[in-house]
């Protein structure tokens, strides 16, 4: 079928070539060439580093793959660690909102060093430093009885000038 199509094509466009095709005989190939070719090839391949040796072939194919997998695992591990450590830090920071910090400080006021408290309040604007927890410790919520009780407690520690000023 193919041959007929080709013959027709040649006859139409190059009739002499169509005729020549029938006369052509292939040149002679050395005896046993194709039989020996396989052996020659195997020898040449072993000289070239053993393309047909499964061991080396496995290495050639697997090493780049293993390398890529290992690299991907390392990158994924580092990325995961960075992500979680960052989010944990951010979360702890975020969860310590100003109000929480302040509430904690006022609850544990006695445990804090005086200098540390001064340092903390010095960062705040004056009004805020003085009354920053107004809503929770508003003077309005302190009754006269409580105030008197407090004053009785601390009266011995207050000097006369301060007392006069207070009154």
């Amino acid at each position: 079928m193919k041959n007929e199509e080709l013959h027709k094509e040649l006859k139409e466009h190059a009739p002499n070539l169509a005729q020549l095709r029938e006369k052509i005989s292939r040149p002679v190939v050395p005896d046993s060439y194709f039989l020996n070719l396989e052996e020659d090839m195997l020898r040449r391949l072993s000289e070239k580093g053993g393309l047909l040796t499964p061991k080396s072939s496995v290495k050639v194919r697997l090493y780049p793959l293993l390398g890529r997998v290992a690299a991907a695992v390392v990158v994924a591990g580092v990325a995961t660690w960075l992500y979680f450590s960052w989010t944990a830090e951010e979360k702890s920071k975020a969860s310590l909102a100003n109000l929480d910090v302040e509430a904690y400080i006022f609850q544990h006021l006695d445990e804090f060093d005086e200098d540390l408290l001064l340092e903390y309040t010095s960062d705040l604007p004056f009004e805020e430093a003085a009354f920053h927890s107004e809503s929770e410790t508003s003077w309005e919520t302190v009754s006269d009885e409580e105030l008197n009780e407090y004053l009785e407690d601390v009266i011995d520690e207050i000097d006369e000038t301060t007392l006069e000023n207070l009154l």
């Binding site: 193919k2 005989s25 292939r26 194709f34 070719l37 090839m41 195997l42 070239k48 393309l51 194919r61």
Partner: protein, 193 residues
């Protein structure tokens, strides 16, 4: 008849690929590949590079290249198409190198071997083959490949298109140019007297 032959060939190709892509069966796959294709590839290459020594060299390089890149063969093309493509490229690369060497020799003033070749041809028993080889060597690379694949291998334009990656229309035009040039060359060489 043709269909069953094609199916048989496709089954053998599958077997070759399977063996070549399995590490432990690589040598079996290589042997089967040699049995199935070494002769066909040899004659295809020989049509392009003229001498047995050159054809042997190019064929061995082709087979090494096939083995090196078989792992990357995805099976999108047929095995023989892929093999012919590698063989054609290897042969054309070889011819380019050879042509460079010849040009250097000619530039050096040594053109005696060309006259010697013509004298040798007139004494050769298989003159038609040799003259055809001479004519083919005058063609540009693409026309060379198309001519050999069509004229000697009798492949269809579709098959050649798969091998060379050129449109069928373009291949028909190339083949027609090639046969006109070859015929002219042979006529001038006195082949049709």
């Amino acid at each position: 008849m043709d269909r069953s032959k094609n199916q048989r060939e496709a089954a053998v190709d599958q077997r070759i690929l399977h063996l070549l892509q399995e590490e432990r069966d690589l040598d079996k796959g290589f042997k089967l590949l040699m049995e199935q294709y070494s002769e066909r590839l040899y004659w295809h290459i020989r049509s392009l590079v003229k001498t047995h020594e050159n054809a042997d060299d190019v064929l061995q390089n082709t087979l090494i290249k096939v083995l090196k890149s078989i792992a990357g063969f995805k099976g999108r093309a047929k095995l023989y198409t892929w093999l012919y493509r590698i063989a054609t490229n290897e042969a054309l690369t070889f011819l380019k190198k050879e042509q460079r060497c010849h040009t250097e020799e000619l530039e050096g003033g040594n053109i005696d071997h060309l006259y010697g070749l013509r004298a040798e041809l007139s004494l050769d028993g298989d003159r038609a083959w040799n003259l055809l080889q001479q004519a083919i060597s005058t063609l540009p690379d693409k026309q060379k490949a198309v001519f050999v694949l069509r004229y000697f291998e009798e492949l269809s334009y579709r098959e050649i298109s798969d091998i060379l990656g050129t449109s069928e229309g373009g291949l028909k035009a190339s083949f027609h140019h090639a046969i006109k040039k070859v015929e002219k060359y042979l006529r001038e060489a006195g082949a049709f007297i």
